[in-house]
Structures are given as C-alpha cells and as structure tokens.
C-alpha cells in the first residue's frame, strides 16, 4: 500500500512537472480551480500522503520547486477526498515567493513559523464534496 502510494506520488510529480513546463501559471491555476475534490471517503490520515510525497520527492529527477510540490500535493489530497487549497505567498524584502497546501485553512506538512513572513497573494480553492471555499 505504502509503496503504491509512493509510486503514485512519483508519477504525479512527473505529470505536474510536465504540465508546469508547458503551461503558464494562469493556465495551471484555472486547471486547479476546475479540479474537484473526490467524492470518495477521504483517507484517514493525510500525513500518510505527505510522507509518501516526501519519499517520492527525494527520489525525483531534480529538486522540486515549492509550486511543483504544492501543486502535486494539492491534486493528490483532492483525489483522496481532502478539500486542499494551493496557496501562493510572497515576501517583499528580500523578494521571495513560496507555495504551500492548506486544508480548512491549516497548512499541511509545513514547519511551524516557516510561513510567517509570507503574504498570501493567491489561493486556488477546492470545489467539491466537503465545502466550497471563497
């Protein structure tokens, strides 16, 4: 089960990588907005999925950008029934951008305090079974 999840994460990383290479962010964003949260019963513990993502990402072909990781993670969570949102943040000085995943407003698998200096500039909401975000 665990290995299957890791392989699935790895393939998903490859797929999102290709998408990010051929499409600009607005196109990826509209794709994400259209992508609904699955109606199936969510997996008990999304941390399992995060761990699988970690392992898949360290064996990926190259270092993941925050957007790449967050996009893939968001899609996988939605596929497993969690209303995940992709959030993009910006830090002004020094200029730096970052992307992460939130479920019900809570960052998923991020170190505490790591997001303190970022201001949210975009939020790709989940539309689906559990709720509709603004």
């Amino acid at each position: 089960m665990r290995m299957r999840l890791i392989v699935r994460c790895w393939l998903s990383l490859l797929w999102t990588d290709i998408r990010l290479r051929v499409q600009e962010y607005p196109a990826v964003r509209s794709f994400l907005l259209r992508r609904r949260t699955s109606d199936r019963t969510p997996i008990q513990n999304p941390a399992m999925l995060s761990e699988a993502m970690d392992l898949a990402s360290i064996f990926y072909l190259r270092r993941l950008s925050p957007l790449h990781r967050a996009l893939c993670h968001t899609l996988l969570l939605r596929d497993h029934g969690w209303p995940a949102e992709l959030v993009v943040g910006l830090q002004l000085l020094p200029a730096e951008s970052y992307a992460w995943v939130e479920v019900d407003g809570v960052p998923v698998h991020e170190r505490a305090g790591a997001l303190d200096t970022f201001q949210v500039i975009d939020r790709c909401c989940s539309i689906g079974r559990r709720e509709r975000s603004v």
Binding site: D54, L55, R63, R69, L93, G113
Partner: protein, 633 residues
C-alpha cells in the same frame, strides 16, 4: 577591558618613560582606573586598568619576578585555583599575572595552554631574551603588534599605532577580503600591523617572529555516554560554570537579552545559580534588549518580555533601527571600517544608559548558533559516513536529511562526495557570488592551509566543518567591531573553553536532531527557559531594514562613489557601482547587499582617515567613560 601596550627595541635602543607614556596616551580613556609603566633598557611595558572583576590587581602590573621576567596580563584567569595548586601557590594571595609568570617558568611556552579564561598577555623572558604576545583560545580580548625599524610595538587597541602622526598604508589583502566578505584572519586595515591570532602566541626572538598555536579546535576525539541524560548533565554543569565564571563579583555587568535561545539561557542560568546560592532575593543580572517595531522579521519584544516576566525583573529596552544610518562620513578617524557618521550619536545615547547604570561589561550569547546546533548542515556527517565506509548510516542519513532539506538524495549525495573528497573549504572568495564591480583579482590567495585550517586538512569532513565554523565565529565577535567613541568588554559564556571543548566532541546527533535544532540545549535547560522562547520556531533576523536603507539612499550612495577612494586604489569599478545603485532594481540591491555595505563602509573609513581635519585620533577626545581615578608610573 584593561589595556596592554609596550615596545621592545630589539636592536638595543633605549626607551624612556616619556615615550612610554606617549604610547599609552591614546588608549588611556578606555581604561581609566589606573595606569602604570615599566621601563627597563630597550623594553617598555604599559598597563592601563579598567577593573572588571575582583581579581584585578592593579598595583602589581606590569609584574616583574626575581629573575627579571616581566608580564602584563589583561582579562580573567578562570582556573587560577587549579593553576595555583599545581604551582604550589595560594590562589587568593596570588595575582593572575604572577601565576602566568610562574607557569611560564615551570612549563615554558607550553604554559599558555594551561591558561583558561578570557585573556591576553605580554611576557618578557629575561633568560632567553624573548618576547611573547598571546591571546586566549577564542580571542575575546584584542591584541595587535607591529614590527618595524628594529622594534616591536604592541597594544590592545589599534589607536596606539596611529597616535604618532603615522598614517600606515592600507593593506590591500585586508581590503580585498573585507570587500569580498571573506575572513580577514589576523590582518588589519594597516599594512604591517597584525593581530595576534586567537589560540596562539607570537614569539619575538630579536629579528625573528614566529606564530605558534597553543590551542586548537581540531579534534577527532569524541565524548561517548550511554544515555542522553549523561550528555545533558555534563552540558548543564559546563554551561552553568561558563555563566558563573563571567558573572562573578567585581564589575557591574549587563547581559544582552535578545529573546533568542542563547541570551535567554544565559540570563536564566545566572538567575538559577544565584537563587540557588543566595536564596530567592538574590540580586539578578540587569539586561539590555534592543527592538525595532518597524522590522516585521525582527519582532523580539514578545520573547524578551516573556523572559523578563519569568524572572520578575524588567531590563533596559532600547529602540533601534537599521535605518538610523545615514552613510555620512564620520567627523573623526576611527581604527576599523564598519560604521558611518550616525554611529557617534547612537554610541552617545547608548553610553548614557551604560553610565547611568554604571555598567562596564556586556555578556553576549554570541556563538550559540554555530556551537549549539543552530541551522543545520547535514552534509559533513554524511561525508564522514562515506569516508568511514559506514554505508548503512549513509543510506539512512541521506533519506532523513534529504527529506528535512527538501532536496533530492542525488543532490545530497553529490554534496557529501564533494565534501569528502573535494576542496570544500577554499577560503578564497566564490567568484560567482562576487558583485561585478569588485576589482580584487590577485589580492586574495586562492587557498589557505595555514593555522587551524592546515591542521585540519586530512581530517574527517565534520572536523573540517567544525574548524571552519569556529573561524567564522572568531571573525564576527562584536568586540572586533569597535565604535567611534567607546570600547567595551564583552564576555561570551558560550565560548568558554571547557564548554567549547565539550561541544566540539559530542556526537552531532546530540546537538541537533531532525526537526529539533539545539537539541541538547533544549533538553538540558528546558526547565529554566520560558516556554515562549523554547517554542520559538525561528530566530529573528534583520531583512527589510538593510534593503530599504539602501533603496532609500541611492542618491547618497551614488554621490559617495563620485570620487571614490576605493576606485582610486583600483579595488572597485566606481562607475559600474554607481550605475548599479542608480538603476538596478531592489532585487539586485538585495542580492549584493552585504558587499555593497562593505564597500560603503570601507569608502567612509578611507575618507575619514584621509581628510586631514578629521584625524581626531591625535586630538583630545571627549571623555566617554569613567573619570580618571589614579595614575601611577
């Protein structure tokens, strides 16, 4: 900090007392409790006392023994009990300087290794006609020297060398290193004037000068205990000892309290020790905290106030801002670059606080990030596993560290191989990161293998990393960046020699663990430090202020480099720099922030030094410290 100074004409020219006092005049204001000189033939020893602990023996320095040996000792000898026992003397009745001379007579040059504490010394060996200048393991007290025209001159402060109207040439290697933000080592901005390296002594044998180490951070011994608890107990004992050594009676002390783990741990440990020893009403340390409400990444107030509430004592709070700087040329010359014209006003304001509270010593938590397991660098430990062929540990470490750092195992493995078998610590500047306006090619040797770095070559990667880390700590100690008007004595409990030797020997997984920085410190001192500080997830750091300062002062900076002294010296392309400052975006400014600030500071320093009317080092100085109390000659 007391001041050592003196000269030795090794070609035999005699020194007179008037000349000796001339030598001491520029530094008299920094150590005004007493001064005394010893002149004998071609040798002159001077000592200016600023009493900062209860073993200062002012009337006995410089000290001469029955064999004609002479020594002057500034600082604090923490192992005076043990040393006096070994030498058959009574510690309470023997001044530190005498212990130093007796130790030298017993063990010769090996004696410097025996001295534990914060110190610097000058020692004349009459029997062999040799002079020694030495500093403690961490270089907590400065000591400079110059050899020229058959003589050696030494002093705690650079002002001594600039007092006789001389204007030494700029040392190009120092300037290049300073501009490129690489370690300046024992260089000073002045050609021919050097600093005695930390953990080393300089031996002058007539015309021959030799630098020898008496302490080294290079070690491959490891402390191994069976349980975490044993490491924690040992750490607790050494940390307490380090704090108590520096907060003992004898001087009014203020502790910097930033609200970070290190400064909070020092203050809380001192409270704990004092309350245990003197009861609940024991007088507690005064604290000094800086804050800047305009800096969102440097919001320290909640944390230092949490410590204050826990200990029941409010400290001195000083509002500061990086943006107070104005890039103006200071109205007087000063010995080292790093400040601008706004520094004098800031120092005067700060001095008021110090004077009103009668403070002489600052306790600093410096060195904690590097020694106690702050930001992690897992690569050396992985490289160790590779070199030692422990492939199971390597595999496990690669996965754990790659996850923690969010990079691929392939990249992590490449870093480990590079660290193990490459040349990972060339101290030359990384050309790719240098700003395009720097013109320093050829000024900095590509690799340095002398001193500790040379000693560590061929050792395990983690040992080399520890040595490089120790070097970086030595380069950035706050007492090395003196201001325009004042000099302060800093004490660094985390750099205590016994504690440092312990921390360099414990396994790295005791210091930091995945997801837990400063693991050993947290486990050992968790009960002393307020929860708000313990749960603090990241250290505050200045980010916005410096960049906004540069952005808002583009015009001032550009005009500063209109007729650039650095440009005239061929160290920078001033027109390129001006164009960059005028036209580049804020991202580019942020990218080159550090070298740009360095260029500005060096330019200001050169201008203050080169403008005749501002050479105030030779002019009467405003009194910024205690009134002169006594003079003995």
């Amino acid at each position: 900090m007391s001041v050592l100074l003196g000269s030795w004409h090794y070609e035999g020219r005699p020194v007179d007392l008037a000349r000796a006092k001339e030598l001491g005049a520029p530094t008299r204001r920094y150590a005004a409790d007493a001064d005394s000189y010893l002149v004998s033939g071609s040798l002159c020893f001077g000592y200016q006392l600023l009493s900062t602990h209860d073993r200062d023996w002012s009337s006995r320095e410089p000290y001469t023994d029955a064999h004609g040996n002479v020594a002057a000792f500034a600082g604090r000898l923490d192992n005076h009990h043990e040393l006096a026992g070994l030498l058959g003397l009574r510690s309470a009745a023997t001044p530190d300087v005498r212990l130093v001379l007796e130790a030298y007579r017993r063990w010769g040059e090996e004696s410097f290794t025996q001295l534990i504490g914060d110190w610097s010394l000058a020692l004349w060996c009459a029997e062999h006609g040799k002079l020694f200048l030495a500093r403690d393991h961490a270089g907590t007290q400065s000591l400079f020297y110059r050899t020229r025209s058959g003589s050696v001159v030494w002093s705690t402060y650079l002002e001594t060398f600039l007092a006789d109207g001389a204007s030494p040439e700029l040392d190009r290697e120092y300037a290049a290193r300073y501009l490129a933000c690489v370690p300046t080592k024992s260089l000073t901005p002045y050609a021919g004037i050097w600093e005695v390296p930390p953990g080393a002594y300089v031996r002058f044998d007539h015309g021959a000068t030799r630098i020898m180490g008496h302490w080294t951070p290079v070690t491959e011994d490891r402390i191994r205990y069976r349980t975490d608890g044993e490491y924690e107990q040992h750490f607790f004992h050494l940390f307490r000892q380090a704090v108590e050594r520096r907060t003992a009676n004898g001087a009014t002390i203020v502790a910097e309290l930033s609200g970070g783990m290190d400064s909070s741990a020092i203050v809380c440990m001192d409270d704990y020790a004092k309350r245990e020893r003197f009861g609940p009403d024991a007088p507690l340390l005064d604290t000094l905290s800086y804050f800047d409400d305009g800096e969102p990444n440097w919001n320290e107030k909640p944390f230092f106030t949490a410590v204050e509430e826990a200990r029941g004592k409010r400290g001195i709070h000083i509002a500061t801002s990086y943006r107070r700087r104005d890039f103006s040329v200071p109205d007087r010359a000063y010995p080292l670059p790093g400040i601008d014209g706004s520094a004098a006003a800031w120092e005067r304001a700060l001095e008021e606080h110090f004077r009103s509270h009668e403070k002489r010593v600052v306790i600093s938590g410096f060195g904690g990030d590097e020694l106690l397991g702050g930001p992690s660098n897992p690569v050396p430990a992985l490289a160790d596993a590779l070199v030692e062929r422990r492939f199971g540990r390597l595999r496990e470490g690669l996965v754990q560290c790659s996850i923690a750092e969010r990079i691929t195992v392939w990249q992590m493995l490449y870093e480990a191989v590079h660290s193990a078998y490459g040349h990972p610590w060339s101290k030359g500047p990384d050309r790719a990161t240098l700003p395009p306006w720097l013109r320093i090619s050829g000024s900095i040797p590509a690799r340095t293998t002398s001193g500790w770095m040379g000693e560590a070559a061929g050792k395990l990667p983690s040992t080399r990393d520890s040595v490089a880390m120790w070097h970086s700590v030595m380069e950035t100690l706050p007492h090395r960046l003196p201001g325009l008007l004042t000099r302060r004595e800093y004490r660094y409990p985390i750099l205590d020699r016994d504690l440092v030797e312990f921390l360099l020997r414990v396994p790295s997984d005791q210091l930091r663990r995945p997801g837990e920085r400063r693991s050993l410190m947290r486990r050992a001192l968790g009960s002393l430090i307020p929860i708000a500080v313990m749960q603090r997830t990241r250290k505050a750091f200045l980010q916005r202020g410096p960049i906004r300062l540069l952005d808002e002062n583009r015009g001032v900076i550009s005009s500063l480099f209109d007729s650039s002294a650095l440009g005239d010296l061929g160290l920078i392309d001033a027109s390129y720099l001006r164009k960059m400052v005028q036209h580049d975006g804020i991202v580019s400014l942020a990218q080159h922030r550090k070298p740009l600030m360095r260029a500005i500071h060096l330019e200001l320093w050169l201008r203050a030094r080169l403008t005749p009317e501002t050479r105030a080092l030779r002019e009467p100085h405003e009194s910024v410290y205690l009134e002169q109390s006594s003079v003995s000659a």
